[in-house]
Structures are given as structure tokens and as C-alpha cells.
């Protein structure tokens, strides 16, 4: 037989290629990614591994800044340098190899050191959405960090040494709209149903239904019915304590039992689900603290012409919350045992409410933008829709400047130092290692016959560092020894672990989806463990 002509929406090449990731961050996340510009300082194994996991999903473009020439050692750890490229500019070779990965991505390079660029080409880094730096040591790191902090360009600093890894995010302010939390209780608002919802649910009298109707009625109707009954017998109060909820649940249980054959009682699935929702969905949904903090933030209450759309929308949201006392309804219903018609009816009621809230926030946001003299399209309707739908997931992260962290004499590590197994000790060793490199211009243990003497020197430096911060802790020698054993070796597989991690943090920064690391990540491949510290 002949096949019917395809009437389905044409799926273009890109949406096919990126299908598996579009299911995670959506077309809108992908669009931000495709418009992004990323800079990598130093095409080390770690650097190219990071770029690989950014180029494959399709960032807009990358630029490699690296003044080194390819060495034989580089080829042993870096997959994106070809065998016969020894002696050629590393930035050039890596750019070519990486460009093979995805024809949608543009890439170029500058055969100069970052140090040279910082001092000679002001504003060079300003053009990027994110700057990634690997194998950058104190002398370059501190001015770079300061410069990017001032230009408000996010910086990701990574190190891979032996079985150890370090990722540090420096970002002045980062806003997240879709955090995609792993689990969430459904947004049902049964504690305070709006008119349309209440009207519909009130129209269902559970106790007058016959057995068949009863087995198909949505759990929300059951819960609403007995919640109303409960309130009527408790002066209008909602059940909040466990024992009170138990009373409500017993009412549902008593009603859900149906007689069958020899007096056997069965609780229908919809009643089971009503019991489940009775645990978490009958008390008012508080506005999460992180959202409250956003609504009360200075950036939200004191808007300027420089305010981002996030803050304009937050201000509009604030007005809505002040007017209605609650966040916008999410507008999605979890699946529940119910007949099609009542489920679809309920779903429409929730969706309409969400649309109503989003429209209201959009109107307010437009008004706010107008008052500030900002252009009409400063805030778009689709943006507001996402913003409202995910209003309970909003986050703002305010980071700290690396240069500050390095120059602090009172770095507060006390809470971590109590635990001798804490990975903060590797952070301290890495800081010591940075200072060692500044002083001696080699990695501790880089030369085979210098492991022991370097170990002593490094221990001395670490002792001094701890002293400067006001601590008298002694580090476990074995950890310092282990780092000297590495002698600056970069193990490909460890760099690949960190490369994947760092790349995803960059994607989070670009898409404003999922919460990025805040702000220092230590990976210990010896024990396959990790820890995050806010420094």
C-alpha cells in the first residue's frame, strides 16, 4: 500500500541531531547555547576536554588563547593534538581538531599568552559569555580574575593534577529560572482553591455517587470534599499536624471502602491517591525562602535602566504576590486515577489559572519596563511564561572574586578544618602548590630527583599559608606527598572527568537552567569522592 503523505511537523536536521539534549534544556535553552561565545585560555588536555563537551551540544563559537607550542608530553595527555603537530602553535592545532566535532560551531584562536592579551588588548575578554582558564597560575590568574570580575564576565578556573581536580566558578550574579529540581510536590492549591476550581470541585458530591462513579472520580475531588467537611467541623481550620491529617485521612479511608463479595474491603486507586495527596497538599504552599529573598532583593526593589529582564519580571512577580498573596499557579497536573473528562476539565482549570497569572505578570512587567523607559520587547511574553511556571524554582547566586579569595588574610575555613578527612585539605595543598609555582617556576616533584626536597619546601609553604590565615592545623603529610608524587602530571582520564563537570557548569551559566556550583569543587579521584566549598 502507498504511504500517507507525512503531515507531521517537519523535523529539521538540528532538532534531530540535538534531540537527546533538547529533552533536557528545551529549544529555548538550545537557542541560548547556539548564540553563546566561549573563550578557553590554554589548550591543555583539560581545556580541550571542556571544549569538547561544549562543542558537541552546539555552542555558537569558541576562541582559544594559548601561546604555547605543542610538545610531545602534550600529545600524551591531550586527545585533540595530532601526533605530527609537535612544535606547532597549540592553539591552532587544538582549534582545528576541535572544529571537526561539530560543523555548526565556529572556532578561532590567538597564538598569544593570556598574560600578553591582558596587558595589551583591553576589552578582549569582554566579548565572551564565559571565559574558561586551565593551567593558569597566580601571576596571570589574579589580574585575569580581577579584570573579568570588573567586566562582569563569568570565569571558570580548572586544574587537573594527578588524581586531583579543582573547579572554581567566579560569577558576580547568576540567575536561574528553571532549576529542574529532582522531586517536587504538585502545586494543587486545595488549601485555598480559586473560584473556578472551587466551583468545579464543589459540584462533585462524593457521598451521592454510585459505586462506579466513585471509582472514577479524581482524587482531588475526593480530597477537596473531605477537606471541606473537615474544615466545617474544625471552625474552618486546615489540618496541619500529623494527627489532624490522620483524621482527614480516616474520613477518606472510611469513604473509599467498597463492599465486594464476602465483605472484603478494597480501597480504590483514586482514594489511595487522595490519601497520598492528603499528606503534602492540604497545607498552604509557602513561598520558598530563596524566592522570598529574590522578591526582597535590592535589585528587585530598586530597578534601574540597567536591570535585566529577570529583575523586571521579579518586580512584576512581587506585585502579583502582594496582590494575591501567593505565587503563580504552575498549571500542570500530575497524572492521577480519573476518567478522561474530569481529568481534562481539571487540567484546563489549572492551565487557565496559570495563563491568567502569567498574563498578569506580563502586563505588570511591561508597565514596569515602560516606566523605566526601556524598550517594548525588554521582557517577552514567552520568557514570562517560563518565569511564572517556575516561580518556585527561581534562584540568584552571587559569587565572589578569586583575586579577593587569594588576597584574603582571613580566609574562613574553620568549619571545614575540624574534619581531618575533609577535602578542603586538598584545596589548601593546591593553594600551596600555586605559591610553590610562583616561587620556583616548576611543579613540586616535577623532576624525579626533587620529590623529597620539594615535599619539604611545599610543606613549609603550606604551613606559612595556614599561619597567614590564622590556623595552626598540621596537614596529613601523606596528602602533600601524594601531590608531590604527581610532579604536575596531567592524567587524561582525570582531566576528562573534570572536563565533563566544568562543561556542564558552563552550559548552566549560558542557559540559566539548573543550579551551578557555588563556588569551589574539589574532585578526589583516589577515593572517587568530591566536595563543594563556598569561598
Amino acid at each position: 500500500m502507498s504511504s500517507p503523505a507525512p503531515k507531521s511537523p517537519e523535523q529539521n536536521e538540528k532538532s534531530k541531531k540535538y534531540d537527546r539534549q533538547l529533552r533536557l534544556w528545551g529549544d529555548h535553552g538550545q537557542k541560548l547555547l547556539e548564540n553563546s561565545k566561549v573563550c578557553l585560555i590554554n589548550a591543555t588536555a583539560l581545556g580541550t576536554e571542556i571544549l569538547k563537551s561544549l562543542i558537541l551540544p552546539g555552542i555558537g563559537s569558541f576562541t582559544i588563547v594559548d601561546g604555547e607550542k605543542v610538545s610531545e608530553e602534550d600529545i600524551g595527555s591531550n586527545f585533540f593534538l595530532e601526533n605530527d603537530s609537535v612544535g606547532l602553535p597549540r592553539a591552532h592545532v587544538a582549534t582545528q581538531c576541535l572544529l571537526e566535532l561539530n560543523p555548526d560551531v565556529r572556532g578561532d584562536y590567538i597564538d598569544e599568552s593570556a598574560e600578553h592579551i591582558i596587558s595589551n588588548t583591553q576589552n578582549f575578554f569582554k566579548n565572551f559569555d564565559v571565559v574558561i582558564a586551565t593551567a593558569v597560575h597566580e601571576k596571570v590568574l589574579l589580574p585575569l580574575s580581577k579584570h573579568l570580575w570588573e567586566c562582569d564576565v563569568p570565569l571558570v578556573v580548572c586544574h587537573s593534577i594527578g588524581f586531583l581536580g579543582y573547579i572554581r566558578l567566579q560569577i558576580k550574579e547568576h540567575t536561574v529560572i528553571e532549576a529542574h529540581p529532582d522531586s517536587e510536590s504538585p502545586d494543587l492549591r486545595l488549601d485555598k482553591p480559586w473560584t473556578a476550581l472551587k466551583g468545579y470541585l464543589d459540584s462533585i458530591n462524593i457521598e451521592q455517587l454510585d459505586q462506579k462513579e466513585k471509582s472514577h472520580v479524581p482524587p482531588l475531588a475526593i480530597l477537596h470534599y473531605y477537606l471541606t467537611k473537615y474544615k466545617n467541623s474544625h471552625n474552618g481550620a486546615l489540618p496541619s499536624k500529623r494527627a489532624e491529617k490522620e483524621v482527614l485521612k480516616q474520613m477518606i479511608r472510611d469513604s473509599g471502602h467498597s463492599e465486594e463479595g464476602n465483605n472484603r474491603f478494597i480501597l480504590e486507586e483514586n482514594f489511595e491517591q487522595a490519601l497520598h495527596y492528603a499528606n503534602s497538599c492540604v497545607t498552604p504552599r509557602p513561598i520558598p525562602d530563596h524566592v522570598k529573598a529574590i522578591l526582597d532583593d535590592d535589585s528587585c526593589t530598586n530597578l534601574t535602566q540597567n536591570s535585566s529582564s529577570f529583575w523586571i519580571m521579579s518586580a512584576a512577580l512581587r506585585e502579583l504576590v502582594q496582590a494575591e498573596g501567593e505565587l503563580p499557579v504552575k498549571g500542570t497536573l500530575p497524572d492521577m486515577a480519573a476518567d478522561t473528562l474530569s481529568y481534562v476539565t481539571l487540567q484546563n482549570i489549572y492551565r487557565k489559572r496559570a495563563e491568567h497569572h502569567a498574563e498578569s505578570v506580563y502586563r505588570r512587567a511591561q508597565q514596569i519596563a515602560r516606566n523605566l523607559g526601556l524598550p517594548q520587547d525588554w521582557v517577552t511574553e514567552s520568557e514570562v511564561k517560563y518565569f511564572c511556571k517556575h516561580a518556585s524554582e527561581l534562584h540568584v547566586i552571587r559569587g565572589s572574586c578569586i583575586a579577593n579569595e587569594y588576597q584574603k588574610s582571613n580566609l574562613d575555613l574553620s568549619s571545614y578544618l575540624e574534619d581531618p578527612d575533609c577535602l578542603i585539605f586538598y584545596y589548601i595543598i593546591l593553594r600551596g602548590l600555586e605559591r610553590f609555582i610562583s616561587e620556583y617556576n616548576v611543579y613540586p616533584g616535577q623532576l624525579d630527583d626533587q620529590v623529597e626536597p620539594d615535599l619539604l619546601k611545599l610543606k613549609g609553604i603550606i604551613g606559612k599559608l595556614l599561619n597567614e590565615w590564622g590556623y595552626s592545623h598540621v596537614l596529613r603529610d601523606e596528602r602533600v606527598h601524594e601531590v608531590c608524587r604527581y610532579g604536575g602530571a596531567e592524567l587524561h582520564s582525570v582531566s576528562a572527568i573534570l572536563g565533563g563537570c566544568a562543561a556542564q557548569e558552563v552550559i548552566k551559566i549560558i542557559t540559566h537552567q539548573y543550579k551551578p556550583l557555588n563556588n569551589t569543587f574539589i574532585y578526589d579521584a583516589i577515593n572517587t569522592t568530591s566536595a563543594t566549598f563556598c569561598l
Partner: protein, 444 residues
Amino acid sequence: MEEVKESHQKRWIHLKKVLERPGPFTHPEFEPSPDILDFILSTCKILIIGAGGLGCELLKDLAMMGFKHIDIIDMDIIDLSNLNRQFLFRHKDIGVSKAQVAANYINARIAGCQVTPHCCPIEDKKEDFYRGFHIIVCGLDSITARRWINGMVVSLLNYDDNGVLDQSSIIPLVDGGTEGFKGNARVILPGMTACVECTLDLYPPQVTYPLCTIANTPRLPEHCVEYVKVVQWPKENPFGVALDGDDAQHTTWIYEKALERANQFNIHGVTFRLVQGVVKNIIPAVASTNAVISAVCATEVFKLATSCCTPLNNFMVFNDIDGIYTYAYEAEKKDNCTVCSNIPHPVDIDDPCKMKLKDLIDFLCENIKFQMKNPGLTTTIDGKSKTLYIPTIKMIEERTRPNLSKTLIDLGLRDGQEIVVADVTTPTSVIIKLRYTISDVEIN
């Protein structure tokens, strides 16, 4: 010009530092030496199972960590939707074998690397093939295939007559898995640590939709798609062939019918992407998670092969939805695991001419090691299976009851006979092995 010995080349300088220097966190048996690098460069054989998202990464990682003799097995061919993460493949490779393209790429890129591709299902290879590797590493998305290879490495174990494991028969299995931003990596020392089967409950159950829901009370767009897939497609058989999720015409047909059905019920949200997701049971995937999990696995392979660092014991989970989270723990080996504990348990019999089947059953109930309640026994004699006694099925109980008063010799059970014992105390059967303390000659 004389060629520099491979292991003396400067490119291995990074590896040499951790292989030729002592350290505080190495395996107790580690002895720093240039021989270790020689071993991974010239002797060690690794098998990678799967040449997909994880497999491509594993191949690159292991080749960069010095492993030169690598086999890779995968039956799949390259699809456009692979290109966002399976980085050894290009547009021109679509339709070609994954294992072949991946092997060619690595052999061309990394000097001296000898990757051997196998474009076939893992079941096509037999014990002798798998026995030829020092370490096997898995990057699969199928739980069934994982269980199969797990069963294979366990079956390669040798135990002596006392049930003591021959350490040299252990082939470590390193396994990785990802879903979206989550992943896990594990090290399995078959017979020693938890195996895939020991921890089957870690895998989430597959989402299924009850037939009565999709037929009578559809509520979600997924219900409409599932209905078309399982009810309408077999009934109308539009193309005269089985449904193929990779055939655009097939998915288009399902999309149109599902849309029709959704409209009929006023259900919103049937999109082409959703239809594909349901029809092909698509798991979201991204390059970064695959890179992380594969690299964790490759690091463990390196540790196992060189002892330069103690390996993971034995399970780690990864999740970077909210910051970066990892957690390592020791998954427990199950004593009653269907696969890795299914070694014959020896039972000493003093006099098989006197011992009756009833006595053996009493022994299994009273012995501290077995502590059974109501065991049923079956065995194989001369290639035919024979039911000795089954207490739980009335008809068979009646038929086999006379066996209880027969001696083991009368029943034809010999020294070394393996008997499969099923009991309520274990979800799986236990194999016991009869060990007669007098010889066959004496019996005769």
C-alpha cells in the same frame, strides 16, 4: 635511525610519574617500576562493550591512558541523533557500524593503538572470547545486556572442590551508566564484590501504562501515543511490517493517529518529539555526563591494571542537576544472589547407600548454612532432568513422595552430583553438590 622504546617516549611522561614513583595511596601490592607501563602498553587486553555515548569516550580515555590492545563490541549502526555526544562519529558515518568507525578513528589518531572492532551482539561471542581479556568495561544503556555480561564474567570463575575461588579466574568488570545529568560507575570483582544482579533493585522500573487506562481513560498525551502503538498499530498494520521507531514514516503515522485520538479527548501536548520519546523509549543524554562517567570508569580500569591507586569500592553515583554531587559507597554482595552466589555448595555424605532423600532434606532444613523450610529438589541424570521431590505442588508431591524413603544410590545420585534446591527462604535456587566420603568402588 633506531626507534625509541615506546615506554621511553616523552608522551608517557605523565603516566610514568604515577607508575614509577611510590605513593601513600597506592594498592598494597604496588611496586613502582617501568614494567607497569610496559604491561599496559604491550600486554594488557581490554574489552569495551558498547560503542555509543559511553563507549566512544571509554575508547578515547583508555587509549590516552596507555592501553593499546583494546577490543570494542557493538551491533548498532550510527544514527544522526548520536552526533551530539558520540564524538568519534561524523555526518558521513551515518548508517555505518559504530564499533568499526570508532576503532578506525582511534587507530588513525593514536600512534600504535590497535583497536579491534566486533560488529555483533555480545551474545554471539562465547566464553573463550571473554576469557581473553584482563578487564572488561561496559558502557551500555540496556539492563538486559548488562545482566548478560555480568552472568558471563561470573560463569568464568573457577572454584576448587572446597568452594574456594581461584583468584586468577577473576576478570574485573567496570560498568558505567547515564541518564540525563545523572550517572553511576562501579567496579565489580566477580565472586568478590556485589555484581549487577546483587543490586538489581538500583535500576528504576520502566514506566508502563496500564492497558485499561490507555484504552478507556486516557489523560496524558503519552496515553494516546501508547494506545496507537500497542492497539491501533497491530490492528491496522499500516505498512505491513513491525513498528520500527527509527522509520520516520512509522513515527509520523503514530504521531497523526495519536493526535487524532488526543483531539477526540481534548488532551493537549502531543508533539512529534513526545511521540518519538514514547515510541522509542528515549532516555535523554548529554555529552558532559557521558564524559564524566566514562572517565571515572577509565580511571578505575587504569587503577585496576596498574595498582598505582586503590580502586573504587565499589559504587559511585553522580548528579549535576544542582551543583556537582558525587557519592561513593560499597554496594553489598548478596549471599543469595542468583548469579554470583550460584556456586555449588558441597554437602558431605558419609554413606550414600544408607542416606535416604528424607535425611538429605532434613539436613538442609537443620544445617546452619542452609536453614531451609520446605525444599524442593531436582537434578539431571544422564542429561535428563529428574524431579526428586517437590513439596509445594500437590500432584507432584504425591508422585514424588515415594522417593523420600529411597537411598541416594537407589535414586541414581552419584558422587559430585549437582542438585538444584528451591526453597521459600531464597528467591532463587541453590545448587548443592554431593560429596561422597567413600569411593564409587566401595559403593559398588
